[in-house]
Amino acid sequence: MARKSYRQAINEALRQEMERDSRVILMGEDVAGGMGAEGEDDAWGGPLGVTKGLMPIFGRERVLDTPITESAFIGAAAGAAATGLRPVAELMFVDFMGVCFDQIFNQAAKFRYMFGGKAVTPLVIRTMYGAGFRAASQHSQCLYPLFTHIPGLKVALPSNAYEAKGLLIQAIRDDDPVIFFEHKAMYDEEAEVPDEAYAIPFGEANVTREGEDVTIIAFGRMVNLANEAADRLAKDKISCTVVDPRTTSPLDTETILETAAETGRVVVVDEAHPRCNMATDVAALLVQEAFGDLKAPVRMVTGPHAPVPFSPALEDLYIPSAARIEAAVRELVAGS
């Protein structure tokens, strides 16, 4: 076992699944780079080098550079999945997903249902999300709530390199379409990652801290900030449970409800805009199913209902911070 970055963990998951199953193919803009042109082969490996090194191993037949036409290649990937391959398509920034909503929402997500359960669509769409990259409002959104809303799609939000490898392997082996969200600010973050292949089942939350006072439910990159806040609060004898749901669809409501009941106080941390996001979804779940267990109102720590600003100073303020999580926990403890 060795320390590997989020980027390396994703690359390793792709390589091991491509070795294991010849039906697994990659496609997307510059996933290798240089296809059909003179010049360096495998020059890019995706915009941030995540798929670099795979084309030389598996060849152009399984690592396909596509034109800059998301609607076309996501549609092609959905069709390939429905007809026997297991494509992993890379859609650079989730912000660009809008141009292929029909392919995803109306086609891939619906095949299993509309063909009476007789069709499977083992499609993975890898995509980057999140703020902090100084890439402005069209390249910084957290659109996982949109995909969580659609029945038939599964949505994974790996919170570190270990999670990224195991959840991506599960996504590739899964027979349903999976939207796999990679936070672009995390690619260089390292964790202990086994060399062997492993799959982390969907819908099973990871409890990263166990405490008695407050339950913090955090999504994606926010899990690390929640852990940081919990560790700081522990020094002041405020002990927090931190829950990483791992996937928003399916969502491990059982662990959320159990851990909420244990502390009676819940902070939900979601980098997405605050209307109709995962924080509101979890808050609604708690109000409906665990109202009697709650000692205080559910607190949400999210970005504001505004586009991600381009000004670095404003962008830093925009993103939920460990300090804001900590403050929310302290307010809850003080108020009840």
Partner: protein, 371 residues
């Protein structure tokens, strides 16, 4: 002679960098014995009681409860009554200044290695380079080489020690053949061949204990001594609910009660310990390997292999060590054994006796190795 002695944050296992003083079990002004339980310390991997490495009058508790400190940091000060408070203050200030300047001296953790043996890749951790007969540590069902975190480093001070991952476990190949004790014993023998070890002291826990007994009986020339900790193979009973639950539980909250069966004090089981087991169980091939081993070794909820009738054949010095509150394999299997096998039974200890009673178990192993 130093009149003032420091008690510092211990290093439990290779990965430990810091620990949290959960609570003090002694007060300033008390006389403490060497080996007395003086604090509960929690690391990210495990919680355990800290036994005093020194004896004397406890003058100062430096670390507060709830405080997380690096390995080697000052926890408390012991000194005779005649040493003045000012001298204690100076000692603490000097220690803290040096510690702040030099920082924690946590050496880079040694990395496990792998070798090819008997057609399998086996992972092992080697510590200590003393000449003489090496010590081989063999974990139990569902374990790995990290199970020896409270034992291996101490044994390595005087011996070359090798902790291995059995087939189907840790970082070793997940192919286990028939999965019976004979197959696993052959794999350990192949490991000894591949690493050029003619003879070894064997220390095995649980299923690993059965493997070591098998080797001592069937390959006596290769075994210098035998220490079997709560070994399988000495009777038909086993709590098969543990084996079934361990294999079937893939969520932390479901798995935890089964891991708590392993110890007398369930507080020893931390969230990260549970997650580490889950990480192992998620590896490709592990579930099949564990099922194969369970079916071969514990068919129908009974142990398939019983060595009792053959124990008198043991030719090497041999001992068994058992916790009386073992909920997996009953300690009664360690009673009424022939003279060839010394038995040591401990009160208030469960199946993970080498973790729960590390100091005593290490002393017993050390005594066996020195024979």
């Amino acid at each position: 002679m130093a009149e003032i002695e420091a008690i510092v944050m211990p290093k439990w296992g290779l990965a430990m960098q810091e620990g949290m003083v959960a609570s003090w079990l002694v007060e300033e002004g008390e006389e403490i014995e060497k080996g007395e339980e003086i604090a509960d310390i929690e690391t990210s991997k495990i919680a355990n009681v800290f036994e005093s490495p020194v004896e004397g009058l406890l003058r100062r508790l430096v670390a507060g409860e709830g405080e997380t400190l690096p390995v080697g940091a000052l926890l408390a000060v012991v000194a005779p009554e005649e040493v003045g408070d000012a001298a204690i203050d100076a000692f603490v200030a000097d220690f803290q200044a040096r510690f702040a300047a030099e920082g924690p001296s946590v050496a880079a953790a040694p990395e496990p290695q792998t070798l090819e043996a008997g057609g399998r890749r086996l992972r092992y951790l080697e510590l200590g380079d003393a000449a003489g007969t090496p010590v081989l540590l063999v974990h139990g069902f569902g374990g790995d080489l990290n199970n020896w975190l409270f034992n291996q480093e101490e044994l390595a001070e005087d011996y070359r020690t090798l902790a291995i991952d059995l087939p189907g476990h840790g970082g070793s190949t997940k192919e286990v053949g028939e999965g019976d004790v004979g197959t696993l014993a052959a794999a350990v023998l192949a490991f000894m061949d591949a690493s050029g070890i003619e003879r070894a002291h064997l220390v095995g826990h649980s299923l690993g204990g059965a493997i070591c007994i098998d080797l001592a009986l069937n390959h006596p020339g290769r075994v210098a001594s035998l220490t079997a900790l709560a070994p399988a193979g000495l009777g038909p009973e086993i709590d098969i609910a543990f084996i079934d639950g361990f294999i079937a539980s893939n969520r932390a909250r479901k798995l935890r009660p089964f891991l708590e069966m392993l110890v007398h004090d369930p507080a020893l089981v931390t969230a990260e310990m549970v997650e580490d087991v889950l990480r192992f169980k998620r590896l490709d091939g592990v579930e099949a390997a564990l099922n194969t081993i369970a079916q071969a070794c514990f068919p129908g909820g009974r142990q398939s292999l019983e060595f009792e009738a053959r124990l008198e054949e043991l030719r090497c010095p041999a001992q068994v060590i058992w916790g009386k509150q073992d909920r997996i394999l009953p300690a009664s299997h360690g009673e009424d054994l022939p003279e060839t096998l010394e038995a040591h039974l401990f009160e208030d200890a469960g199946h993970l006796i080498h973790m729960e009673r590390a100091r005593e178990v290490n002393a017993l192993i050390g005594a066996m190795l020195r024979r």
